[in-house]
Amino acid sequence: MWVNMGPQHPMTHGLWNLRVKIDGELIVDVDPEVGYLHRGIEKISEDRHYNEIITLMDRCCYVAGIAWEHVYIGAAENALHITAPERAQWLRVMCDELQRLASHIMWYAAFVQDLGLMSPFLYGMRDRDLILDLFQSFTGGRLTYEYNRVGGVRNDVPSGFTDRCRKVMDWLMDRFVEYDRLCLGSEIFRRRCDGLGVLKAKECVDLGVTGPMLRSAGVARDLRKDRPYAVYDRVEFDVAKADAADVTARYLVRMEEMRQSVRIVRQTLDWLDHHPGPVLADHLPRWLGAPYAPMGNEGYLLKRNFPRGTGFAAVEEPHGEAQAYVVNTGGEHPYRTKFRSPVFVNLSAAKHYMIGYRVADIPPIMGSVDICVGEVDR
């Protein structure tokens, strides 16, 4: 019997359809169907200025907006041969990690609710709101930040921000203990999640799976360590790793990542306190400067020998490795942008970690993948 779980289904956490073939309570076959949220971001980008694409990136993955801004900005800066100032890099790292915290807490809330545990959803949303408050205090938005710019970030953090942020970090560290007590401390939780949705390391690599799913299979791969971008080589942190490759392992990896994120955020706050400086690069091309104005006609644009090139950047987004590929042919719009979404790939491997389990296992397995449909469909 084929059962359609979606597009409107409480398990999906977004707009996609999981077609499941079941035999009694057993899953025989699955076929994820995506594209219900395909908004053509790559096409719209072709008609936009480099900075204006940032507004699309925020909406591309709505739980990790600023990380996606970083992905895109990295590629665009490569393509335009611009380097952001040091302080901007530190700010980006801080934003990435705050965003990772927010995204993982959101994941925790949704995942545990799928298991039928209701309170943590509320606790998670409550604690996430604090991080969003922090974001709001310097970017002005809760989900859509529009904070990065090609060549830096829009503005510096306001005074007093670092102290507030430290307080929130302390609060969160206490809450993580509580989260663990609610989940790991509960025998029912362990019985439901142990040995579920197993995807071993070899399969993970073959299928291109990245992020916490891969790390839970014992592969300590993290772009922040392996291929440090921004200033990740200057902060201390450990890569979270587990070996069981099941749902519990993913839970443990994400919880550990949150603790490491707090660690990184504290380091960045210390750095930011002591190193004031500019946050936006000088000598930006006219059409990337703060006020956007009409460019002038195409002829002059070509005459002035704008830099050309193709940029590529990869960033360890909360869900996995996100990559952007920006082709710049010298116009004010990119010629082509292409984004690689980690969830897209993790979801495409669904057959390999779902078959053989039970209908009741679908929500925890899918929850442990941490699906954000915005970036799957783009």
Binding site: G35, E42, G74, L207, G208, R227, F312, R336
Partner: protein, 158 residues
């Protein structure tokens, strides 16, 4: 020089199909190859160079031809490598990478759907993002977007 090393390493199995190994912003290098020998190149890159993880497959419409690019990652060298092939003709097509990297499946479906590049011997070529009866390839340059309402359509660059 990393590019030379790569070229020599690739030579035994795919030498004839390699057009160039060029440096690239953000990647170790980019290997340009002939689309006819795609599978050989993929095997060589996967087995000999150890790039066992396919990150991304994309296609670009350069009006006169179309380009397919692959980004692969090696856990050994911790590096990204780009592969790219230029496809010409009215019905551009290339061998599917799924036998070498199973993760190419959805990427290739998407590339076919959006840019209209066909992948031969793909196990499951269906529409992915668009409805099943969608007849266009929206990321072609000839496919223009428009404002849904006929309100102030002002030109962006005067």
């Amino acid at each position: 020089m990393a590019t030379d090393d790569l070229a020599t390493q690739l030579a035994p199995r795919a030498g004839a199909n390699i057009l160039a190994v060029e440096p690239f912003q953000g990647l170790t290098a980019r290997v340009r190859f002939r689309p006819e020998g795609a599978l050989d190149v993929f095997r060589a890159v996967h087995d000999d160079l150890g790039y066992d993880h396919l990150s991304m497959v994309g296609a670009i419409d350069w009006v006169d031809h179309r380009e397919v690019f692959y980004i692969v990652w090696s856990d050994v060298t911790k590096q990204y490598l780009g592969l790219s092939a230029d496809l010409t003709g009215d019905a551009p097509h290339i061998e599917s990478a799924t036998p070498v990297w199973p993760s190419a499946n959805w990427h290739e479906r998407e590339a076919w759907e959006l840019v209209g590049v066909a992948f031969d011997h793909h196990p499951d070529m269906r529409h992915l993002l668009m409805p099943d009866d969608y007849a266009f390839h929206p990321l072609l340059r000839s496919f223009k977007l428009h404002e849904p309402e006929e309100l102030e359509v002002k030109s962006r660059s005067v």
